[in-house]
Symmetry: C2
């Protein structure tokens, strides 16, 4: 499982750096995309991330540098599926899109006015922000975030994901292909392998972070012990792994506890949108392998960062420390910082190396690994013995 | 005056070629942009086209590869103006945007949902298509092209440009900063130097071509004749150029006809949107220096071109010949054709050189110059003695 940083710049794309987009590529090649700023589809062509393998798209917030590339990306995915009519009769591909209220209106308007039919079906699931996410001046600008009254011909109805505001952790449940659990101020989706939850974080517009929890897996089978107990390879291995006891021909009962190791903890990735303070989401993180956190400005510009709802390296480190992250990856750099790989710098020109230095200084002694992710940086998330699931 | 081809691909951008965008750069550096597909703002950074100098944007039609880059471009123009508050108090920059009905809704929706304030003011002038522009299946998909009920804080009201449907060439006139003359099935804007008209052309969605007419200029002063007549350099030179006679101290009357050459014809550029047939616009073209015409597919794929409302090289040549164009520049190539500059082609890989060969074969003997414009091709429009205006 790899994280491909497709765009790591803030505000606007340059020839040296794209705007926000991050691809989580699973071992089978399928891709979940987090944000899609303008040019994301071009960036994806430069690396081994197949646009046709994108089946879920998460939009952290509605700022242009995080979503203006979405309509074009959807059109290109459609034009390049290369499916025959025969294949389409069997199964129409589907892309699920998750993001804040208003996202559906944006996608619908862009795709409908451009009269873009899609070969696949798409479905927008909107998260309703909590009142704390709106700035005081929000009402000065009256914007219609409501869903459009019409539906795109390729669109399936999505789920409106409401935050629970009950203090007792009451779980509301609604069903549509996937099941959504709406729990105290966060949102979650479940599938067989993953549970994805969203929580709100501080920014100038409603912004979310996603907590991606891999399911815990059954422990490893102790094959030499199985052999010594006289259990031969076969379907019974799967039964034992799934927690069932078996009875041998000689009457002996073999329980899972005898031959299966302790459960293997699933990984947790935390991917955050723009934020000046992600602490409202911290309570959702039980353990944490990787945090992707923005660091728009360096620590010397903390006031500027705060003014625009952004963070600096030391603030990102403070959050990551608080949730005991093993690895912190920084992105969303102001275009004032050139990529660290740039040669022949002008006098006074700063690179993200400055941000990385500040982050590493702040993280010193914590045991946490910290890195700035320039465009096309690939982070391979350490495995959890997935191979052992293939007994 | 230069035409910068920023993006010459159709459908979707690749790492080798952008989607539709063409910059007309005036001698003073100011820019009129024609279409703005995704990534236009990145392409503009690669050449000497300043995004801050764009003051008019023309959108030929609402397909995504012609307009999905517009919201991001407007945001970036705004973030980079670099004007002080003092300068802004004196004059707020302004960008006028022209395009088909529905464009305002697209821009408003994208800029408002992304909550993007702009430092400049923008104004969308929408052209109302004629009934011939709608395909038979248009009604199958009910899309709201109406103007949004709210206004972006940086938006000024635009003009709805209606086509006149009277047969007698009746001129309707409406005024808003610029004057719009709405004449039988075409639309025009005037400023001091230029008259821009739009006419409808055949495509799968309402698509327009723009006819950009430079004003005719006064002829060149014959300085040696002026000296021999005893007229010394001074303000009288300007009076003669502007068509006024002067009286010398000795009583001799000098008329413009005696010392000013014949008027210098203004240039005419024709920039077309996607089309399978641009003939409905041909009647608007009195003389023609340059035609920019799409050639999406090569002549062997004429059926495919027709199916999707596009043209082939020989069809583009036929149109350009019909309007007596001196120069024909082709763009909007299917991504199946690699840029002609590409080295080490795969077996069977085609480049736009094929399209250029077909166009040149079709144009042979006509005296018309024909060229395929790959990305970043710059065409310098031959001058008309503008320097003579600076006597």
């Amino acid at each position: 499982m790899k994280l491909h940083f497709l765009g790591t710049g803030s505000s606007y794309p340059t020839t040296k750096r794209g705007v926000s987009s991050l691809a989580l590529q699973q071992d089978d090649g399928s891709v979940w995309l987090f944000d899609s700023g303008e040019g994301t589809q071009i960036q994806a062509q430069k690396v081994t991330v197949s646009r046709q393998k994108i089946n879920k798209i998460f939009i952290t917030h509605l700022h242009g540098d995080h979503m203006f590339g979405l309509p074009g990306l959807l059109c290109t995915i459609s034009s390049q599926f290369g499916l025959t009519e025969e294949q389409l009769k069997k199964e129409v591909p589907r892309v699920d899109i998750y993001g804040p209220k208003g996202l559906r209106r944006f996608i619908y308007t862009a795709l409908s006015l451009s009269r873009s039919p899609l070969i696949f079906q798409y479905c927008v699931h909107e998260m309703v922000p909590v009142s704390s996410q709106y700035t005081e001046d929000w009402g000065d600008w009256d914007v219609d975030h409501s869903e459009p009254s019409a539906t795109h011909p390729s669109e399936l109805p999505g789920v409106t994901i409401e935050p629970s505001v009950t203090e007792d952790g009451n779980v509301a449940e609604t069903s549509f292909f996937l099941t959504f659990y709406v729990i105290f101020h966060f949102f979650s989706i479940d599938n067989d392998e993953w549970c994805v939850q969203a929580g709100w974080i501080h920014h100038r517009v409603p912004s979310f972070g996603f907590v991606i929890n891999e399911r815990d897996r059954a422990g490893t089978l102790d094959k030499s012990k199985l052999m010594s107990l006289g259990v031969k390879p076969g379907p019974v291995y799967g039964q034992l792994k799934s927690g069932k006891s078996i009875t041998l021909e000689n009457g002996d009962i073999i329980t899972p506890e005898m031959v299966v190791g302790p459960p293997i903890r699933g990984r947790t990735l935390v991917i955050l949108g723009d934020t000046s303070d992600a602490s409202p989401l911290a309570h959702m993180i039980k353990s944490c392998d990787v945090v992707v956190h923005e660091a728009t400005h360096d620590d010397n510009l903390m006031d500027k960062a705060a003014e625009f709802g952004h963070s600096t390296p030391s603030q990102a480190v403070a959050f990551a420390k608080g949730v005991n992250a093993k690895v912190l990856l920084l992105n969303h750099f102001s275009q004032r910082y050139s990529p660290s790989s740039k040669e022949s710098l002008k006098e006074g020109e700063e690179t993200v190396a400055l941000l990385e230095e500040q982050a590493q200084a702040a993280a010193a002694g914590s045991g946490m690994s910290v890195q700035c992710a320039d465009d096309f940086f690939v982070y391979e998330v350490p495995g959890t013995g997935r191979a052992s699931m293939r007994v």
